[in-house]
Symmetry: C3
Subunit: 138 residues, 3 copies
Amino acid sequence: MIITSRHPLSTSGQGDAHDITRQVGAAVAQSGLTAGIVTVFVTGSTAAVTTIEFEPGAVADFNRLFETLAPRNASYQHHLRWGDDNGSSHVRAALLGPSLTIPFVDRQLTLGTWQQVMVLEFDTRGRRREIVIQIVGE
Amino acid sequence: MIITSRHPLSTSGQGDAHDITRQVGAAVAQSGLTAGIVTVFVTGSTAAVTTIEFEPGAVADFNRLFETLAPRNASYQHHLRWGDDNGSSHVRAALLGPSLTIPFVDRQLTLGTWQQVMVLEFDTRGRRREIVIQIVGE
Amino acid sequence: MIITSRHPLSTSGQGDAHDITRQVGAAVAQSGLTAGIVTVFVTGSTAAVTTIEFEPGAVADFNRLFETLAPRNASYQHHLRWGDDNGSSHVRAALLGPSLTIPFVDRQLTLGTWQQVMVLEFDTRGRRREIVIQIVGE
């Protein structure tokens, strides 16, 4: 059985991190399904999803890594095309990826206690995002 | 229901990027399935898959990031084993990953307008790749 | 049909790499299913999973990349919160990701010959891990 839901998410710009573990867990609980996988997918090319211990220090460390990898104020060929300023956003998001698949068993996600599902905004301005949560289970 | 297809892809070497969004969308459309997930998987350890705004500037920026992370001409322990010259390829591919899972609903991928599915060759020579597109849906 | 198994894995600390391809393949073979996807998921926020040519050189090169990206002995805001010393572990694991989805066809994983499934420990001490292998197939 396949159950899909879409969740709006407003972000404030580059580095804005959202813990959506509760929404993912609720989608599984409300599905009535016992076991399967849940795919969390961020529509758009300047945001990404992963798991992390969602506390401000680890999130800040993670953002600092991306600033080192792809500095916001470096020059990007993407800027030349559209006059955009978000070349760093595209590079960061493509590296981290828009998709995460998590198994669930006995109606519970197999996440660890200190492992949360995080959507990370990389765009240079706030965006209205849509998060797709899709369950394939039985 | 599960529907698998395999798609050959010839590449020209490190940094060669292919937009396969059309093939993935066609596989979903032809499956006759309404909703589910499609997994795009690159067989082999020196290529990877992600999503990106597929325009030459962003792709060049992304390749530049990988050249910074794992320079092609640096020395790699992998070279010592086989006399290969593609240590940078293995490191880059393992970081980005061979697999991408995308939900579809109403026969449509949940990608954004500027979000394409890209296979990125990291090997130092051209390769004949096989891309697996597998749909789990109903 | 959905079949889940959990596999304990003891690790020796940061950089310890485990080839679990055999366990993943065995789970698929024992499922009796012909085609589908297998999701490999590492519970916890300081380990990750990907594919690589699993030979000591490539694994060492890969670990060296992470030491460059997020040096073990750098300062991390995460350390300030808990007095932990594993800020590098969290950053590395969130970047690489805890989940890998692999299609299988005719009871065989679609991996390449030189492409193995690797669990990589990033924590600064040995851990007892649980690897979830979940098959969705028919």
